[in-house]
Point group: D3
Chain length 331, copies 6
């Protein structure tokens, strides 16, 4: 069984039932999520041995968060516990022309207090087949950025493929560094990057007039890179989206079908579901076209599942990937 390692913050998500607004609810539904942990949970459903590495507060919330990951078959053996708070976010789910809204409350979390040496990466990555990170982690604190860099470098030393979703959130990055200072060293270690030409230009100064050209320039700049991937979303409403993805391997751009998604049950984590599906595809199929299709189908399915994480199985993704979107009852 393939072993995968992810690293990043997990937050407690609190949302009113259904599409109620915060101002009219007296109950909140709990989920836990975080972009990297979402990838781990999804890969665990696909049958891989997924380990998520993070740092939790040493209290009932931290233990519940670990319980959530375990319940969904992710190993928590490398999680550290200590001071700091549980990162939170409040999600008001939208519908139709009303957008969903998030209030983040993650400042000074136990994860943000992680230090470079808190994780013994040699032990964690021993025997691993993939390591995944995102641009959220280095945006949180110097310690998180340092610890991540140590992880990537260990993975490189052990010849483990590394994927990075280089997502940029401008309201993070409060600790005195810019992505331009921090991201290049992290990207050096990557085999696969999720991002588009705007981000490539802003963060690395790498330019190209098309996805393919920008991708080629990225591969030149970061020689370890073998794949560039990106997703595309046409938002007709909060309940109706159209999705697709593409994958560039330095030579060819492989494009997935376009998925028409309606209704949308829960849009959170659908990008992470794509990434997990793509990683699964690359590790399994030796066929970039099928990998990008598998990732896109996984992402489409995630829109039908409440919570941040994709609880779809390989069989379900394959059904959709192979063109059956009929949703016919399975007995």
């Amino acid at each position: 069984m393939k072993k995968i390692v992810t690293f990043g913050e997990v937050m407690l998500r609190l949302s009113p039932p259904g599409v109620n607004r915060l101002a009219q609810t007296d109950t909140l539904t709990m989920h836990f999520g975080g972009t990297e942990a979402n990838v781990a949970v999804s890969l665990a459903q696909f049958g891989l041995q997924a380990h998520h590495v993070t740092r939790f507060p040493e209290n009932g919330l931290g233990r519940s968060a670990a319980g959530y990951l375990q319940r969904h078959h992710v190993s928590t053996e490398f999680i550290r516990y200590g001071d700091g708070r549980m990162g939170l976010y409040f999600l008001e789910m939208g519908a139709g022309s009303r957008a969903s809204q998030i209030i983040y409350d993650r400042v000074d979390s136990a994860f943000a207090r992680i230090q470079a040496n808190d994780i013994d990466w040699d032990t964690v990555l021993d025997g691993a087949d993939w390591f995944h990170w995102t641009g959220i982690t280095p945006a949180l604190s110097q310690g998180a950025a340092d610890c991540l860099l140590a992880g990537i470098q260990t993975a490189n030393r052990l010849n483990i493929p590394v994927s990075g979703d280089i997502v940029y959130r401008s309201n993070l990055w409060q600790y005195g560094k810019t992505p331009q200072q921090i991201m290049p060293a992290l990207t050096e270690g990557c085999t696969l990057v999720l991002g588009g030409k705007v981000l490539f230009s802003e963060i690395y100064g790498v330019v190209g007039s098309t996805f393919q050209e920008a991708g080629r320039a990225m591969i030149e700049r970061f020689p370890r890179l073998r794949y560039i991937t990106d997703t595309k979303r046409n938002s007709i409403s909060a309940s109706h989206n159209q999705l697709s993805a593409k994958l560039f391997d330095g030579t060819t751009v492989y494009k997935s079908r376009v998925y028409d998604v309606q209704p949308i049950i829960d849009r959170i984590g659908t990008g992470d579901a794509y990434m997990a599906g793509l990683i699964y595809g690359l590790l399994t199929f030796n066929d970039p076209q099928r990998a990008v299709e598998f990732g896109s189908a996984a992402s489409a399915l995630k829109h039908t599942i409440p919570g941040d994480v994709n609880l779809a199985t390989v069989a379900e993704v394959e059904t959709l990937e192979q063109g059956d979107s009929s949703g016919k009852l399975k007995r």
Copy 2:
């Protein structure tokens, strides 16, 4: 008031709230359902005097199941209680491109343990205007098949019309007999059969290149037959289907309008809702076209009602049958 009798297993259905998956829920919603009992409940909403005949375990689950039927105005006076378990099924409701999934857990139920003589059919069918059965019942056990045959033969003797939905589920039929051995004798007694040309060929060896031709051949083979009916479903997704039905009376094929159903709240029991609507129509209208339209409209409405059973009234079905699908608020 017309009296109708149905016969078959009722199962406790357990499903996570909303479209949650089993792996993420700590609560299950209860409904009771079974293809024949669903027909009875629907006809009870239409104002007929519906009796469902079955066998339940003699415990709190059996009593709750009876309470469920009674709550929805079906008489339980002919239900037997005894050993064996309550049949169950777990339903994970899908959405969009994610299919609903059922885990059946009905082996060795109290109903499957029924014996040929457990029901006093002369008493049960006294004064009845219709008797309905389906191909699920003879698939469960020799006792169930025997008891059903006794019921059909009694109905025939008393000149009560009999309808059979000849649905075939290959993972049932575990007791040593095949449908080819059992179904013909049951079908002999039918006035109306729900099925299509594939089933006619597989089960009875009756062939015809169109619905009409196959229907004509069935009527030749089973002289008591007056009507053949079938439904058609185009599954765009688990949330969006298109439905229609047709009815053949030996001469003419009457086709219903096509109903575009979106969103789908609960697809379970929509075929049974059609059958109940058709039976009501045939008993009431003396107009095959109107009967098949009434059945199709009833089936379309069932998609908007949670649970296995159609709780729509005659007035609601007529509104839709007469072309008003606007869903305008009624004050």
Copy 3:
């Protein structure tokens, strides 16, 4: 901050969870609503100082109703308490081709028992910038009609703009008067009327072959009138509607865009949301076109919010009014 005053009955709404039918639920969800109070709540969300004037029973239900208005930032300082019951309505929410259904239970409510002098309108309307009423109130009792007339006349004396939604419900008006006897005097005091040419003709005998002509005739008949407005709804199903509105200022008919609303979460109070948006627009923008667009966008958004009242903010309405219906997640 602009002060607005509304006057009318508030009912406790009781509805099964989701789209369940009354016959299958053991729980009811509570909301409070009433066409005039709905306008007040919506304007309170837009930041205005909204006061609702009504009469509640002096018991836990009346106090809960007041608490509901306060929770949503409406002042209840002018509410009276006394004998009589809480008005109620039971709402069964439909979906697709199944219509929602309401059972009213409001006879002899505490509000219907209000008397002409129960409200000190000079105090209530002191400093007010708008007064709003609807045709439900004078339909309930002579006392309610008298008290409303006193309010309108006070507003006229204080030069406060008055809007009237002249909705007509034939099953109300049980106290011996007809709308033809009562409505003209109330309409005399109006600056703005919501209604269409059929109502104008039936209630006032004012005729016109188009909305514009009928509007012009109304303005002639009621010289205080400056605006006529109306909404239009195309009901494709209970889950899918198309909406628009128009506003006539004596010269020009301003038409809003057509909003395609799908899915519909809760259709109740969407007309009131339009009225609140229009009032806000007229008080804020000095641009009739923008006012009618703001009202229509507000109404469209209300369809996504559970309950009778529109909890959308100005920023949310403006996003939609300015053409962004993408529902993209806001972080």
Copy 4:
């Protein structure tokens, strides 16, 4: 199987979840109850054939109320439907030193509009073994009192035993008659009366210094009477009561044990549970001591069951009646 008939209003009960107050809830739990119907439901659980006679509004609430009785095995075949509203009550459940509170909203219900001839008592009471009524019914309207009297007289003519719980609620009796005018004729027809010496004196002017003496005087005054019974409750708190009952047969006073009830889950309908238990006991045991013990044990058990009705079985009551209050798990 013994047939029992009860007659009276059934109300929809609405209560916040748990012990929340009305002012803090957004959800209400539904139950249906009424003192006479509660007796019918309890006897149905004991295996008798119970029919409740009442009049419901012809809408979804009336049909749900009938469904509730049917679900709990009470026959509704003699229920009438017509105009008028569903009677309601709002219940705030107390705990410890905080009392439960009820807001009644039952004026002008469909039941209160019943007329003397609405029920064909000869058909209803055909073959009945017991008829039960209470002092609530004649307090609601002249029609209800008349219809009840017709029922009692029919029972007398058919030699069916009649029990009357002569409960007096002063805030009812709004239609112009007093209990002193109405109750004696109803009591004439009774075999068994539930009440105490204060009521006997106030309503009938029948006095006695002890329960026994007052009972003897009642039997003299109403020669058809064979039994007088009463219950006693010591309220330590809303969560802790002590209960007992006594039964006088003209000769001996049979006293039950004292039941210490803690915790109290739902106190509503516990008197009705006693009455049902006593009726069952008198019909079954031919032993007044055992009958009063059975009734008291039934009443004690009802305190542990949510809702107005006693869902305990004969076996459960017998366990407690025979002294086992250990509550040990039954597998």
Copy 5:
């Protein structure tokens, strides 16, 4: 109507349903509470005009918190909105021998960021009859302590009575000051102090061997003081407590009855309920004995009410204060 002003932080409380543990729940129930706001809500139920002064984050959580206070009739007109987070606490409710547990998450809240001049105390306290604060506020930040001091001094200048609950929580006080430095100046302004001899000695160095002697010494040290009060709790289990209180007016110690509280529904805020009852009593009765009895009865009742705030009415408290703890149903 008497006007009362309270000042302090309000937190969002999140707790699993019932007595479930955090590790086993997927839903959290919302309440809002804070020791000073709890006093305001309780006094609002008693019919006083209560204003709570605080600072909330300018987002949906801050607006929901204000809505909560308004729903329970507390005025929020003097509340400020700005940066910082919503203070939170997670509550796991215990039972029997299992203690309830709280995880606080209130660091850097919008309230803690309040500054000395953020509140215009002259406007806020205009016409006020009482001002209440607690030792939580000065423990949170220098700004909160400064702002509170300004409030107390304004109240003193306007001759408004001031009460202080001098509760000491050692894990607060993180901003560099000690209670010994901060509390004396605040206590200078008090008319009434809630505390005991241990606190008096630790915080002020004021000693006395009994409550009476220590109280006398406090009054000497703080000449504005007229009353010292304290509560006493005997914890038999998390579900069973015994409560009493005493009030010293410089001359006499008035002791309340001892209340045996079982079961305990929610123990949070029961001290605040005492304080509110005492304030109400002192403002209303001119009888110290009755005031302390009213406060104790209010506190006992609060144990039966879910949430942080006491929703009991004056009538309910008086029933218990006058010795009726029978919890008998009120119709």
Copy 6:
């Protein structure tokens, strides 16, 4: 960290919310439990490395059951998946004098289909510090009994202590063997047995007039035995019990304090909680008195926790074990 291994069936438990009866609920709450797995979960909360060994159906229910164990920190790495159904039980929770009732539905479960060689005990028990089994397992099937015997013999070979709760349920044992045939060989391998003199006599023919004497005789008969333990329960009602335990080490009988437990939230699994506490105590304290006290305190605490498993921590148990049952709030 100590490693513990348990072996046995896990069932899905389905229960109505609160103390509702099956006949009145439409929702069921899910828990998973089984006497041996309950011990594992409890020990996992105490910080030990607990592995539960069982066989689950290869479907969503089996995966959810595994997720439940993982969520509560029990390793599922040695669990097998295959054919057969999920074992179920329906639990109706009682209160006061009403007993809880269980309907088992576990026949032919995936676990009952386990075969002797399905578990590689050498791998499973490698490095283990304790192995625990109960008399439920050998009662289910020959395969389960055989597989258990293999486990015990492997533990003996590896010198791992073995505990057996020799509980006897007469309605199990349906596969043709008696406990007298099967239990002795299993008991041969035990270090610790939970049981009393009645069971010792019935199952093994080992007699003794007191617990001490019977224990001594057991140790003679089964030379590997070092400890005999038993629990005692006085059931005052379903909501109020008194508990204690004793432990015999061949020389001395160590008795725990008596715990008065009121209220009882959930009685299921309280014996398993004792066993887990005792095992923890024996592995940790080297003090039999403290071990039996720790076990009894753990059992008392379990009564306050919903579900089958004890989620109490070592710190919580120690608080109670050391005499603090005050349930005082922990901040």
